[in-house]
Amino acid sequence: MTQSCPAIIGVGRTKFGEHYEREPEKLIEEAWLKASVSAGIERKNLDAGYFADYFLQITNKIGIEEGFLSELTELHIPMEKTRSFSSALLNACNAIQAGKYDLVLVGGVEKMTDRWDKIRDDLMLLEDPWSYYAGCTPEANHELMLREYVKQHGISGSQHETFNIALAQIAVKNHKNALQNEYAQYQREISLENVFRERQRAHKPLGLYDFAPVSDGATALILASPEMAKKHADKTVCVAGSASATDYVSYPAREERTEFIASAIAMKNALKMANIKVGDIQIAELYDQSTFLEMISLEDLGFSKRGMAWRDIAESFKEFQGFYRINGKELFVNTDGGLKANGNPLGATGGAQIYEIVKQLKGEAGNRQVKTYADLQNGLVLELEGFGTKAYAHILRRGDQK
């Protein structure tokens, strides 16, 4: 099984944060060169490129991204542009599995700070124009979903307090994880008090420290056919499961408003493809655009039972050892700091998530390494577009040594 999967033979990324002085092409160049070096491949051997950016056309007025990349790489290979890194990866996997290409560059970039003054309007308008016209903000849907969740599961009194603390602990944990990540946007610890103070200031259940920031950055990886992978790498990570699903663009119009059904469907199909069970996954990169989304993703993906994720999290934090303990199993989540602390340059975000899982599975995560190389087998990456409108689940598996 593993042998027939496309393999990631190299990964690269830039630091996330504000890159005022660097053009988007310069960011992608850095990520691409790092990935190429780590894979040990020659530029001319690339068969195709898949690149992601969510809205570079708006933020940086770049129309045909492929042209910029052709100029950058001095290649005339087929290139396609997608909206998220996971989407680029999924397309690259499909092409390799179809036997069309053997070596593909997958990349993602975003430069959001160049449009800092209008970014919230852009984000919201692209997420869902109807909600935007009604006055929605990028944060408001998270708050509404949280409210729906609290009401549906009847969380009140001391339970509600536990629930609020559990969400705050997610932010604290992710910031702590980012301390060991040299590429993270925020390499500093925050306290529960910080999180609560910001919530209080906003008079809301979620505050500044519950949300991922606006970021610049780029990520890249080299994907190879199994045969090609054998030639280039000693240790490979293969994409054992790759699936996506879609949902309505308007969150309020969906029938299920305390879950993302797209996440659940994508996960189900990715597990099927990888031929494993959810319990076989030891490490996951979840899309924590807000602390609430990290929590709800645990339910959407089947780690926690519906209505139970916050309890699982709260229990895990009683004696926290770096992982969530859910149904007796250990699950490491967002060991790179997650979107919250690592950063969230939309088109590049998924690449950073994959970067982390690849590093962990190969035992190359340095101070962040959660377990020995031999003990990690399967990792998961969940990436979303919009507010649960698209979901991508990728299951990465440690390849056997050559």
Binding site: D117, K118, R120, D121, M124, D128, P129, W130, S131, Y132, Y133, A134, G135, C136, T137, P138, A140, E143, L144, R147, E148, K151, A202, H203, K204, S250, Y251, P252, A253, R257
Partner: protein, 503 residues
């Protein structure tokens, strides 16, 4: 810059909240669509339109938006949430409007599970040169100022010999400013003369019970159209769905026109609206005249600033027809002269006021002349008239002119509304007329004399019929209801100026 093609694309939520319902399984959708997701291909051609314009919904969950996106910053802070209709069969995103929440600590759960009414408002702020985007995804709480009212189409029973008013409605907003004994209505940030015209028209349709598809023509009179060129009436006709709707082409089979003659822009058209329904092929149809203004005034320390003491905001709508008339139009008389007492040149923000002319010879001469000529024409004395309503730029003018004409307090005081809502310009004397119709008895004779600067007056004699009593219970949102509402919110002078400027 907003793009007009995009405005057309979103017009179904920009103007009026609409969706679809599958005739087979009953599933409902926010936004019109051609087939049902559950029933698939067999549902093609079996999707029914549903329309939430006259409905009420429920705010299920909500949150407070204190840091809106750029285009919404003028709204400062608001409640945003999910509104459900038809017991949760369909849900839409929505914003609660008409409340100041910026400085407040708000427990948003107090708004949840409460009934809300869809409103028609400006969507967000755009450049002064852009098309004004509107939105139907705004709501107000049904248990506050603006009530939910059932819209029921009632088949006409009786054809009258003379045309007349078959229904009317007035809209003034929840906000007021108060100085001394004068209260004036103030728009919220997202209101303007267009939104008020729609609200008044909606009230008139609810009151009259007529089938809106029978509307032949709508006249909208205003002197505060936010556009120098582009009609208000087209928007009002589209939002209220007046005339037969040709869905495939997106047009309404109705004529719509804006009129302008300072404060008599609407009253001038009463006779035209009545005359049109008297035309043989239009006798089964109706016409609507709306007078709407976000009355303009320069700040007090500037030229023309004296108007700032009296300007209000509001709209009135009157539906004319031959059927089930509540007040027949007996006779009319207008007079006109070119008296430049009040004007606004193109591209000027505020009107100017020629103080020399304003009272005498402008207002008093025209109002008196029109009233006297009408009484002469009909051989009537003031005692033959039950109610006298005139244009109300302030409190003293209408009282003085009525007294000079020989009317007594009991005849002119019921129609004097300026101290409650301010001078609503094109809506001014029509709001006085509506206040009288709210209380009039069958066989009462009402005189209304408008005045528009520039200058002219229209005098009408209306004879109330017994139908007025049949229709009265359909309208909760009366002038008294609006004036004495406990949910009215008072704002200070500075806020009033900001609100008047809008988004």
């Amino acid at each position: 810059m907003s793009s007009e093609p995009i405005e057309r694309r979103v017009s179904y939520i920009g103007d009026r909240l609409r969706g679809s319902k599958c005739e087979i399984c009953g599933k409902e959708y926010f936004r019109p669509r051609d087939y049902c997701g559950t029933c698939g291909r067999k549902s093609f051609g079996k999707m029914q339109d549903i329309d939430f314009f006259y409905e009420k919904g429920e705010l299920e969950v909500c949150t407070l938006v204190k840091e809106p996106t750029n285009k919404f910053t003028k709204l400062e802070a608001y409640v945003y949430g999910i509104v459900s209709f038809h017991n949760g069969k369909v849900r839409v995103p929505g914003r609660l409007t008409d409340s100041f929440l910026k400085e407040k600590e708000v427990e948003t759960s107090q708004f949840e599970d409460r009934e809300v009414v869809p409103r028609f408002r400006r969507r967000y702020a755009v450049e002064q040169s852009d098309i004004i985007p509107t939105i139907a995804l705004t709501f107000t709480l049904a248990d506050e100022y603006y009530p939910y009212q059932e819209h029921r189409i009632v088949k006409a029973k009786k054809e009258h010999e003379k045309p007349g008013i078959v229904g009317y409605g007035v809209y003034t907003p929840k906000f007021r400013t108060r100085e001394g004994t004068i209260e004036r209505s103030v728009p919220f940030f997202d209101e303007d003369s267009i939104t008020a015209a729609v609200e008044a028209g909606k009230m008139a349709l609810i009151h009259s019970g007529i089938d809106p598809t029978l509307m032949a023509k709508i006249y909208v009179g205003s002197e505060s159209n936010p556009y120098a060129v582009k009609p208000i009436a087209s928007k009002v006709a589209q939002v209220l769905k007046l005339g037969e709707e040709d869905k495939a082409e997106g047009v309404q089979t109705v004529d719509a026109v804006d009129t302008e003659f300072a404060c008599k822009a609407a009253t001038s058209m009463f006779k035209d609206a009545a005359a049109l329904v008297y035309y043989p092929s239009v006798r089964e149809h109706y016409t609507m005249v709306v007078g709407t203004d976000n009355s303009q005034a320069a700040p007090r320390n500037e030229m023309g600033g004296e108007l700032d003491f009296f300007v209000g905001y509001g709209a009135s709508a009157f539906i004319f027809g031959m059927h089930d008339v509540i007040a027949e139009m007996e006779e009319w008389c207008s007079c006109t002269s070119d008296t430049p007492d009040f004007w606004r040149r193109d591209q000027e923000c505020y009107p100017r006021h020629g103080g020399r002319f304003t009272g005498e010879p402008a207002y008093f001469k025209h109002v008196s002349k029109a009233a006297e000529k009408l009484m002469g024409k009909m051989r009537l004395q003031p005692k033959d008239v039950n109610y006298f309503v005139s244009h109300q730029p302030n409190v003293t003018f209408p009282i003085k002119v009525a007294t000079q004409l020989g009317f007594k307090e009991e005849q002119f005081m019921p129609g004097l509304q300026v101290a409650k809502f301010g001078n609503t310009y094109s809506g001014s004397s029509p709001i006085g007329l509506a206040a009288v119709l709210d209380i009039a008895k069958p066989n009462d004779r009402i005189f209304i004399v408008s005045y528009g600067s520039g200058a002219g007056s229209d005098a009408y004699s209306l004879l109330v019929t017994s139908q007025i009593l049949d229709k009265r219970s359909r309208q909760k949102f009366t002038l008294r209801y609006q004036a004495e509402n406990k949910n009215v919110e008072y704002v200070d002078y500075e806020t009033y100026r900001r609100l008047k400027l809008g988004m």
